[in-house]
Amino acid sequence: MKPTSRTGVLVLVLPALLIYAFAVLVPFVGTIGLSFTRWNGFGTPEWAGLDNYLRAFKDAVFMSTFGHVAIYIAATLVLEVLLGLVLAGFIAAHKWTGFYRVALFIPVMLPMVVVAVLWRTIFNPDVGILNAVLKRIGFQDVSFVWLGDPRTALLSICVVSGWVFAGFFMAIFLAALTRLPPDVVESARLDGAGEVKIFWRIKVPMIRQVVLLAVLLCVTGGLQGFDLFYVMTNGGPYNTTEVPTTYMVKSVFRDGEIGYGASLSVLVTIVGLIIAGGFWYYQRRHPADVEY
């Protein structure tokens, strides 16, 4: 329809646009601009051309953040998406699962900082429940510093992330599974297929789009990970849990290198957009016949 008046349209659209432009679009363009400068926040930014980017590619710690985040993503794909899928399959196929649904989803509600502080205490070698349980079941001299040991720090964070988000992905998959038409599953059952086979061969392929979306969320969300890492280890020990965002925050707010931090921000954004574009392309090439 044509609008009744021009001012009417402006009144409707402008508030959202102005807030969004002020707080997101302008800063986004500004970050790109700052990435080509040397600036410590005082005085005027000094033009640096591509120096920041060249430095980023030679920065071993920054490059290693992508390795850590890749491990984190791989682990959470298993601990969150795959586990969530299996749990959803179980819950969808059974009755009286109210307790499971509630128990699994409760961690999703909590602020990540609360989760991080709680688990930091659980992993605490002195008062933490983890070492206490290990001691109780027979490991005598456990005073293991889970978050302080380069071998276990990153994995510990992955486990905590799984504790939170398995329930989230379970809920997404459960919603998709309950939307499936019962007749397809029914006819497979009449053909004598077992429940496990029906789940992997029929149900999961039918909710393929949802699985793909979940994988995308897990990958892009992982790339942006910050809260757990900052609170539990802040990149340590020896940079073994440094991820792009914790490193970016350090560059800008600890070292005062705003231009350099901005170039890291642009690089991470580009990586994220390439990943999202890859998923989009894949989905275009393999469209779903029917969407559930």
């Binding site: 329809m1 609008p3 009744t4 008046s5 009417g8 349209v9 409707l12 659209v13 508030p15 646009l17 807030i19 969004y20 997101v24 800063p27 986004f28 500004g30 970050t31 700052l34 749990l87 179980f90 819950i91 499971y100 649904r101 509630v102 699994l104 989803f105 409760i106 999703v108 509600m109 602020p111 990540m112 900082v113 609360v114 709680l118 205490t121 008062v127 933490g128 429940i129 504790w163 329930g167 989230f168 809920a171 919603a175 969320l217 897990c218 892009t220 910050f226 809260d227 900052y230 965002t245 925050v249 800008v252 707010f253 705003i258 931090g261 901005a262 921000s265 991470v268 954004t269 994220g272």
Partner: protein, 273 residues
């Protein structure tokens, strides 16, 4: 054979569900124990039920102030998101005007931009306009972050409404603003509830920007406040557990009461943070 497999899967899921709750039970339990028994016998049950530690954490530890700040920031930013996005979503769905396509494309791009893409210059901008260390330093970005997805969901929702509805109102002489006020707002309610839930939860839980923009103790929200609290009471575990329990419990209660709506809202909003 078959029934034993069944038993094992049932058992595994039950164990996993208990593992989800165990850390929370341990947390609540430890709040009632003294620091000595927390570190010496972490698995033992509390012997007394002393609630005074909760009062201390709330009043002396400052959890109360953090909670008030979180409520203000969340309420204001959620209300703003609902208001401006419902107006824009309606206009983008029903009105044809120059630039409307451009705005929609901009919103889709906005869905893809993570906070990491702009927070550095945003910080400088907020410093420039003296927004830092005010409540607006959080309200403004939380509102902006919520807008693209909110507009998108509301627009898609309005798209499904019959166009006769709008034509009839038009023939009766209603202006677009009147249509929005009298017809759209009541009809959009289900979409607004969904958008409201995930916007509010995202604002309530947001940490990165809160950490960078608010240093003033009296303005900190629960995530940054709790972090400050945990270093203030680094060795007073009883206080820490009391604080953790206090910020966790309301969310669990809200979840148990509004279970269905929240799961729906969160999965549609697909926030991950």
């Amino acid at each position: 054979m078959k029934s034993s497999v069944r038993l094992v899967t049932h058992g595994a899921v039950a164990v996993y569900a208990i593992l989800c709750l165990l850390p929370l039970l341990w947390m609540a339990m430890s709040a009632f124990k003294d620091n000595g028994s927390i570190s010496l016998s972490p698995l033992s049950l509390p012997t007394t039920l002393d609630f005074s530690v909760f009062r201390d954490a709330w009043a002396i530890g400052g959890i109360g102030q953090y909670a008030i700040n979180s409520i203000i920031v969340t309420a204001v930013s959620t209300t703003l998101v609902l208001l401006v996005s419902s107006m824009a979503g309606f206009a983008l769905s029903r009105l044809v005007f120059p630039g409307s396509r451009f705005i929609l494309i901009g919103m889709v791009v906005g869905l893809l931009l993570p906070i990491q893409a702009y927070f550095i210059a945003q910080n400088q901008l907020f410093e420039l306009v003296h927004l830092k260390d005010t409540r607006l330093a959080l309200i403004v970005p939380y509102t902006a972050i919520g807008i693209p997805l909110a507009i998108w969901l509301i627009k898609t929702y309005v798209d499904t409404m019959p166009k006769e509805l709008f034509e009839a109102a038009r023939i009766d002489g209603a202006s677009d603003l009147t249509v929005y006020r009298l017809i759209m707002v009541p009809l959009m309610r289900p979409a607004l509830v969904t958008v409201g839930i995930f916007t509010a939860l995202a604002a309530w839980n947001e940490f990165l920007l809160a950490l960078l923009y608010v240093q003033d103790e009296s303005l900190k929200t629960i995530p940054t406040g709790l972090l400050a609290f945990s270093s203030r009471y680094a060795t007073d575990y009883r206080m820490l557990f009391a604080a953790l329990t206090m910020v966790t419990l309301p969310l669990i209660i809200i979840y148990v009461v509004f279970n269905k709506r929240i799961v729906e809202g969160l999965t549609q909003g697909s926030v991950k943070g």
